[in-house]
Each structure stands twice: as C-alpha cells, then as structure tokens.
C-alpha cells in the first residue's frame, strides 16, 4: 500500500532529479564542444587545451627532453625526478602537502622523446597548478644533496627493475638495434652504466635551462577552457628563457636493424621489430602500419577467450605465452614490434609460425580480416586519443616539433583509407628489409633470426 506522503516524496525526488539533471547538462553544454584540442600561444609558449566535461582537469607540461635528446645518459631521469622538488619559494614537503590539501595528483614521467610533468586536480584549482608548474620550471633548486640523497637511489632502483625484466630489456635492445643512437637510447640505463659519473647538479640545471626554454615545451590541458588556460599561463610563465642554453637536437632517425642476444637468468623474451610509422604530425606517417599491428593483434580483448587475431592463431600451441604486436610512433620514425615472452621452449616453438603469419599477410589479406583490423586500429587510436594521458603527450609533442596538435578525428579518417594492398606492401617491405631481433633469456633454446626466416 502506498500512502499519499510516500508518493508525494517520490514525486518530489523525481522532480528534483530531473531538475538537477538539466542544470548539469546546462553547465556542460558549452564545455563539451570538441573532441580535439584548441591550440594557441601565450607568452610565446605553445598552449593547447580541450574542454572536456567533468570536474577534473589534467594539466601537463610536455618538454622535448626524453631519452632521445639527453646529452648524457640518465639526465632525463634526473630531471624527471627533480620535478616538484624544492624550489626557491617552496620546499618539497610544502609542495606535496599543498597538493594533498587541494586534492590532486602530481606526476612526472618520460618517454623516448618527451618529459612530461603533469597534475590532475579539481577544475577550480587551475591557477594554483599553473603557478606550480611555472615554479618547477624556473625556480627548482638543483641541490647536490637532493641528487645524492633522493634521486640516485631511485635511479638505481629503476636500473635494477629494468635489468630484472627480460621483456623491457628485449624491447629496448630492439630499439637500440633499430635506431642506434637517438631513438635507440634505452628508456632506462642498464645497471652496469655508472650513471653517477655522468650526472652532477650543474649538468641537470643546465639541461633544465635547455629543456624548459620557450621553443622546447608546450602546455596541454584537458578539461580547461582555452581562454582560462592562456590567461593563467600569461600570468605565471613570465620569466621563461626565450632561447635554450644549448640547442637540444637529435639527428633524423635512420633505421639500421640487426640481431642482439643477451643471456638472462629470470625469464625469456623475443622481440622482432620492423620499421614503422611516424606520428600523424610527423613526416613518414603510414596509417597502414597501425592496421597491420591490429591485424597481427595481441592478447584477446575478451576475457577467457582465445581470440582470433593472426598472432594468437600462430601461438595457439603455447597458450601461456604472452604475445603482443605494437606500432609505436615517434615524431620522425616508428617501430612495429612483435613481443613474445614466456618459457624459452614456447618461444622457440611459436617464433617460426609467427613469422609465417606475417609472410601470409604479405601474400594476401582477406576482406573480413582487413575490416576487422581497421575497426580495431581505429578503436585503439580513438581510445588512446580520448583517454587523457596518451593524448596529452602526443598533443604536446606535436606542438613542439611540428606546431600542430594531435587531432584524433583526422587520424581516424586516415585509418579508413587503408587498403589491403597497402597492408600487404608494408608486410612485404618488413620481410624483405632488415629486421631488428633481440632475444633475452636462455640463449641455448631461443632461436636466431635466420632460423625463423628473417633477414638481419
């Protein structure tokens, strides 16, 4: 039985709910304008923003200071770790506590090309975090004791972590084979490299002056209006050097290829890599590489199912093996890599079928397979572009190097135009050219590139 008062309460609640719903929409309406980034200039600094709906803003400063551009090994890591450490105005502790009090997350990470200092926070706090980033960039104290007490131990831990993972060793070794210096520099120096010999506080400070100069970084925000962001950047980023203390350069990447085998006691990995595509803002952009990567595929997207990608069919005999194809893009080059990780016997068993699968693709691609791969490639691009972290870095990098932000709509269009012939051509070129093959683990069992039918 429903009493009158209960009904009245329900009605009230319903009315309130609908009213609230509408107001929320009303606020969001101007915000949810576009999927792509608006870019502009503030104080001579490149700024891009995307006003996505939601209460949280993600802000990132993308600097051209990844491992590719570091003048000495480990400098990128040291600079990354010096982010949000004591500045002239505030101590490390104060920065951390203030960030905690406002409810936010500070992070910094690096990739091969970029160093990213980022913060996630509530929309209202944008001015505070823009000011914080400006302070980090211009006023960080590169104190010797911070380097010795806090940063070296962390770098050493990273080196050990890197040494303990056969897959990341194999991937970085494949990069080294493919591009030698520049892009080929490993993301983390291996632990046998005496990093302390190369890094000193003055060197880090000097590198920071180059990396945080106007032409070398961009500020990208997700969930902030362009006007607002430009306004605060104009206000706080006032004393940024217009020219870097030294030019940060790297030669145009050139693909070499080859084979490297590293003995390792705790695990096995085999990485087979081929020249790939640059980022959409770069010069050698080939969307068909992404389609080929999707066609070869990786672990099944559906839980507990075996999946039907070419790579999974080829590795069906070894169900416990991790197999993954990835098309990594950089500003002027890219790498299409197939990673196999598991027991040495499994890798030996499936390495040949995997290469055979690639050969079969070079012979011909069926219509259904292509449609499926295109859909997957498109989904992956769009998903990556929509998710904040990936798109922030790509957008920043595009702005610094080419003056164009990364626009996902265009990328999706490019994937649509890929034909079966183009995919076949890429696969054929990969097989005919030199591959980069890196084996890490039990070298007695792991196959050589020649044995699985690749040219190195």
């Amino acid at each position: 039985m429903l009493s009158r008062s209960v009904l009245a309460r329900q009605a009230q609640r319903a009315a309130r709910a609908s009213w609230q719903h509408e107001t929320r929409r009303g606020l969001a309406a101007p915000a949810s304008g576009s999927f792509s980034y608006d870019s502009g200039d503030a104080q001579g600094i490149k700024v891009a923003s995307r006003d996505q709906t939601g209460p949280v803003t993600t802000l990132a400063l993308v600097a051209k200071a990844g491992t590719r551009y570091q003048p000495l090994p480990g400098l990128t890591q040291a600079l990354e770790r010096f982010a949000f450490k004591s500045t002239e105005n505030r101590s490390t502790l104060r920065i951390q506590r203030e960030a905690e009090l406002l409810g936010s997350e500070l992070n910094s990470y690096h990739s091969r090309e970029n160093l990213v200092l980022g913060a996630k926070f509530l929309r209202d706090d944008l001015p505070y975090f823009v000011e914080l980033l400006a302070e980090v960039v211009t006023q960080t104290k590169y104190a010797p004791h911070v380097l010795h007490e806090e940063i070296f131990p962390l770098i050493q831990l990273e080196q050990k972590k890197f040494l303990g993972s056969p897959l990341s060793m194999a991937t970085n070794s494949a990069y080294g084979l493919a591009f030698h210096r520049g892009l080929g520099v490993p993301l983390y120096p291996s632990s046998s490299l005496p990093v302390a010999k190369y890094i000193d506080p003055e060197g880090v400070a000097d590198f920071s002056n180059a990396a945080y100069a106007k032409p070398n970084f961009a500020i990208v925000a997700n969930g902030a209006t362009h006007n607002e962001l430009s306004k605060w950047v104009n206000e706080f980023f006032t004393d940024i050097p217009a020219q870097p203390s030294f030019q940060i350069t790297s030669e145009q990447s050139k693909y070499y290829g080859g084979e490297e085998r590293i003995a390792h006691g705790s695990g096995n990995a085999l990485v087979i890599a081929f020249p790939g595509s640059s980022s959409p803002t770069g010069s050698s952009y080939k969307p068909e590489v992404a389609v080929l990567a999707a066609l070869l595929g990786g672990p099944s997207a559906i839980k507990w199912s075996t999946g039907s990608s070419k790579l999974l069919l080829a590795t069906a005999e070894a169900p416990n093996l991790f197999a993954h194809t990835k098309s990594t893009i950089h500003s002027d080059a890219g790498l299409l890599s197939i990673a196999l990780s598991g027991t040495a016997d499994d890798i030996r068993l499936v390495a040949k079928p995997v290469v055979d699968a690639l050969k079969a693709i070079a012979q011909g691609v069926s219509k259904e397979d292509l449609a499926k791969a295109k859909a997957l490639a498109k989904f992956k691009e769009l998903e990556n572009g929509q998710a904040t972290e990936g798109s922030l870095e790509l957008t920043g990098a595009g702005l610094i190097l080419n003056g164009k932000p990364y626009q996902i709509d265009e990328v999706a269009k490019n994937v649509d135009s890929v034909t079966a012939e183009k995919v076949q051509a890429v696969a054929k070129a990969a097989l005919e050219g030199k591959a980069s093959v890196s084996a890490v683990g039990d070298l007695y069992v792991l196959p050589y590139a020649e044995e699985i039918g690749l040219k190195v």
């Binding site: 104060r94 010797p144 004791h145």
Partner: protein
C-alpha cells in the same frame, strides 16, 4: 644547532655595530681556536642528528678541509703547542660554512611541524 644570537639585532643598528665590532674581534681572537687553525663552525658539537645530516650535505672539498683542520688542531692540543703565527685562522677566513646548512635543516623541521599541525579552512565560495 644554531644558537640564540644578538647579531641580527646589533647589525641592524650601525651605531651599535661600530661599538661592538672591535669588541667582537677582540673576543674571537682571544677565544683561542684560531690559534689552532680552526673556524668557529668547527666548534659546533657533532653529537646530534641534525649536525650529522648537515655534515653529509657538505661538499667533498669542505668536508675534507674540516677533517684536516680538526686533525691539525688535535695534534697541536696533544703536543701542547700552538700553530706558527702565519698558520692561524685569519678573521676573513673564519666564515660560517655549516651553519647555513643547519639553519636550512631547522627550517625544514619547523616547516614539517607547522604543516603537521595545520588547520585548514577553505574559502566559503569553494566549499
């Protein structure tokens, strides 16, 4: 450990400074440590956590020089001798090298305490 001092008070007042300067020179020259080749900062007791951390932050050159001065002074003290006059610490050499680090460490400590006992009030419009 930084000790309570009247120095900032005196230095703010030039007339007082003019009075006190000769007095302080006289005092420091008679304190005796300069005749053993030490500096004033060498006399700060090492047996505290703060000082141990400050010592770690000295640059290698400064740490080496400090140990050298101490060993020399120790030797002099054992043999009941003073250094030859040309090796005495001169007034302009007697500069603080570790007390700035100590002040910095103390500031860090008080800042931590302040932050730990902070009471936060958000402005009303941000609630």
């Amino acid at each position: 450990m930084s000790v309570p001092t009247l120095a900032p008070y005196i230095m703010k007042r030039p007339w007082l400074m003019r009075w006190m300067k000769p007095l302080s020179h006289w005092y420091f020259n008679n304190a005796g440590y300069r005749k053993l080749g030490l500096r004033a900062d060498d006399l700060i007791p090492e047996e505290s956590e703060l000082m141990q951390r400050a010592l770690k932050r000295l640059s290698p050159k400064e740490a080496y020089d400090r140990v050298f001065r101490m060993r020399r002074a120790f030797q002099c003290s054992l043999s009941h001798q003073l250094l030859p006059k040309d090796e005495w610490t001169k007034a302009e050499e007697d500069v603080p090298y570790i007390s700035p680090i100590i002040t910095e460490l103390e500031a860090e400590k008080t800042e931590r305490q302040d932050l730990e006992t902070i009471v936060m009030k958000r402005p009303a419009n941000k609630a």
